[in-house]
């Protein structure tokens, strides 16, 4: 038993990100209180450097740490999505932190740690690594949700998220234990090596393990019936954190689902398909139908994120590599448009937080046409209307599903996107069509938020019009070499 070879170049992005978090903590400790905003600038700069590192490793196809850590195109693409999401969140947070007088150093450090956890999950080729990555991500998020300590809603959000999250974690550990019991390894790559185990003896055992894993991941993904926490947690958490929560963990959960259920359980995906099918349908309907009756925009976006989790699950009911590629693209589009919607929300809520009623958008389109237009773009993109990114994402996903003959599922999904149009458009109605006597109050455009908003707008349009120019649709799901 020798110490395993470690490919330090391949894991450079992770090293940078982990170092970045530590650096931020260090700076925060030594900077005077009123200068700690500097950590925000360190954060975005570091994220960009790490993105370059990922880009440098583009095309690397290797496994390191005794095969536990897989650096391949799949994980690189996902890491770029995480990095993009976190970058936008850091841009969004700059003003928010100043307005609400939050601890900048700890805030950014936790965001970056959470990002680190996600990157671990994306590259994990072993269930143990995935589990620890998941915990790093989650623990940081539990704290971030309660970051506004003086706000009872934020406390509630944090506690709820923590308790339920810990519960879900229990399921994941138990699931890993069962899977290990059934196949004798935690390695995703070896899991279905026929030499390693005799499947006939322990199939049921394995399925129980898989089911438990799925419960835990469904919680992180906010899928039915483990979605109850989402609206409360989203509503109570600081808005910038809500934005982060709604994109990052979902993407990480999808990455693991893909690795575990499409790669490791690959032979059994047809048996698992009905389960994903019903999960997907129930999640879509739950999210969309409840979203209709929401009056608080954060809760509406929470239910919309549940609905989107339902769309994403279509890929697993389909279970092909093509479907997984499409869902990764879907994640990219979802990250851009969803964060965009949250950016506008951040501008609109301004300092007087707490009232995030949809009516608070009244007249926004008239007084601030750019914000109104951007929000409209994000909403119609979330609803999946061309030529926006949301449409391209749905199109590729549905295409992959139809290719596998999942026509009823696609029809249901399509009906659901129709339902979703109704509540997304309600915001548009409020912004543009209700004539008010009072003008919308002036808002400030903090420079960084503005940059992020422009990035999101451009991303939503460009990904919608030229989807394949920026995204490879033929990603292998696991590094082939050792």
């Amino acid at each position: 038993m020798e110490f395993p070879q470690i490919d330090y170049v391949a894991i450079l992005p992770e090293i940078i990100i982990c170092g970045l978090a530590l650096l931020i903590m260090l700076f925060a400790a030594f900077l005077p209180r009123d200068r700690r905003w500097i950590t925000g600038h360190i954060a975005w700069f570091g994220i960009i450097v790490a993105s370059f590192a990922v880009w440098m490793n583009w095309g690397t196809d290797t496994r390191t740490f005794a095969g536990m850590y897989s650096i391949d195109l799949f994980s690189s693409v996902l890491k770029l999505i995480f990095l993009l999401g976190s970058l936008l969140v850091v841009f969004m947070s700059e003003n928010y932190i100043r307005l609400h007088k939050l601890e900048a150093g700890e805030y950014y450090a936790l965001i970056i740690f959470s990002l680190f956890g996600m990157m671990m999950m994306a590259s994990a080729a072993d269930l143990v690594v995935f589990f620890v990555g998941l915990e790093i991500m989650s623990v940081a998020l539990y704290v971030l949700a309660g970051f506004r300590r003086s706000d009872p809603k934020s406390n509630e959000s944090s506690l709820k998220y923590f308790l339920l999250g810990a519960f879900a974690t229990g399921f994941i550990v138990l699931g890993i234990a069962f899977v290990f019991g059934a196949v004798g390894t935690t390695s995703i790559a070896q899991m279905f090596d026929p030499q390693q185990y005799t499947l006939a003896n322990s199939f049921f055992y394995l399925m129980v393990g898989g089911g438990l894993l799925l419960i835990g991941l469904a919680f992180k993904l906010a899928s039915f019936p483990f979605h109850m926490w989402v609206p409360d947690v989203y509503e109570g958490a600081p808005t910038a954190v809500t934005a982060f929560m709604s994109s990052g963990p979902k993407a990480a959960a999808i990455a693991v689902l893909a690795r575990v259920f499409v790669v490791a359980f690959g032979q059994h995906i047809t048996q698992l398909s009905p389960m994903f099918w019903s999960l997907s349908v129930l999640t879509m309907f739950t999210g969309n139908l409840i979203a209709i009756s929401q009056t608080n925009i954060k809760r509406m976006l929470a239910y919309s994120s549940i609905a989107h989790a339902g769309y994403m699950l279509i890929a697993f009911a389909t279970g092909t590599a093509e479907a997984v590629n499409s869902v990764v693209f879907y994640l990219l589009t979802y990250t851009v448009m969803n964060l965009g919607a949250f950016m506008v929300l951040l501008v609109v809520e301004g300092k007087e937080d707490g009232d995030n009623e949809i009516t608070s958008f009244t007249g926004l389109g008239r007084r601030h046409p750019f914000l109104g237009a951007a929000m409209t773009l994000f909403l119609i993109s979330l609803a999946g209307i061309p030529p926006t990114a949301g449409f391209a994402g749905k199109f590729f996903l549905f295409k992959a599903a139809v290719a596998k003959g999942q026509i009823p599922l696609v029809v249901i999904a399509v009906i659901n996107s129709l339902i979703s149009v109704y509540y997304y458009l309600r915001v548009v109605v409020v912004m543009f069509m209700i004539d008010t006597q009072t003008e919308f109050r002036p808002v400030s455009y903090p420079a960084f938020l503005y940059v992020a908003l422009v990035v999101a707008v451009l991303g939503t349009i460009v990904l919608g019009v030229f989807p394949t120019s920026f995204f490879p649709f033929d990603i292998p799901l696991l590094a082939s070499g050792r």
Partner: protein, 173 residues
């Protein structure tokens, strides 16, 4: 297979585990509940010893008995109101909860029995031939093949530490 004596010991331990677990969730005095939790966790450590997993038994005692349970007892004792008060351990959803717990038990038992009844059982050998002691083997593994999760756990602890500080410190510190 276990020997006669070991088998007897197992049944005793298992009995103690289950009885104490039932007490944990049914006693009205929360302090007594916590004490029975200690007993329950101890017995689980005993099961681990029987299975030749000395390291796991040690960890079980150190972390669960020594750490978690003791912390709980501390918390109960420090909140004086709770030490002697009687609390209801049940709520209106107990029937539903029992149903879920019971069906989970059924599934797990079913999985185990189904696997056992198949000829050959697990693909793994039932008792791996261990030439060195388990702590030694685990230690080696943690520093070779499992070095990545091992290192990652330290990051996880750091994050938890930061989180605890953020949430617990006074405003303005």
């Amino acid at each position: 297979m276990l020997s006669e004596t070991a088998s007897l010991v197992f049944w005793v331990i298992a009995f103690v585990t289950i009885i104490s677990a039932i007490f944990v969730v049914s006693l009205r005095n929360i302090f007594h509940s916590a004490l029975f939790l200690v007993l329950c966790l101890f017995s689980v450590a005993g099961v681990f010893v029987l299975l030749d997993a000395e390291f796991l038994a040690g960890v079980q005692v150190l972390i669960y008995v020594g750490g978690v349970a003791i912390l709980m007892i501390f918390a109960v004792m420090l909140t004086s109101r709770m030490t002697n008060s009687e609390v209801r351990q049940q709520n209106e959803q107990k029937a539903l909860g029992a149903l879920v717990a019971f069906s989970f038990l059924l599934i797990v038992t079913g999985a185990i029995l189904k696997t056992m009844s198949v000829k050959g059982g697990f693909g793994l050998s039932p008792s791996p031939s261990v030439t060195i002691s388990t702590p030694h083997a685990i230690g080696r593994l943690l520093l070779t093949n499992f070095v990545l999760p091992f290192e990652l756990v330290s990051v996880l602890l750091l994050v938890a530490l930061i989180g605890a500080v953020v949430l617990a410190k006074k405003d303005g510190d």
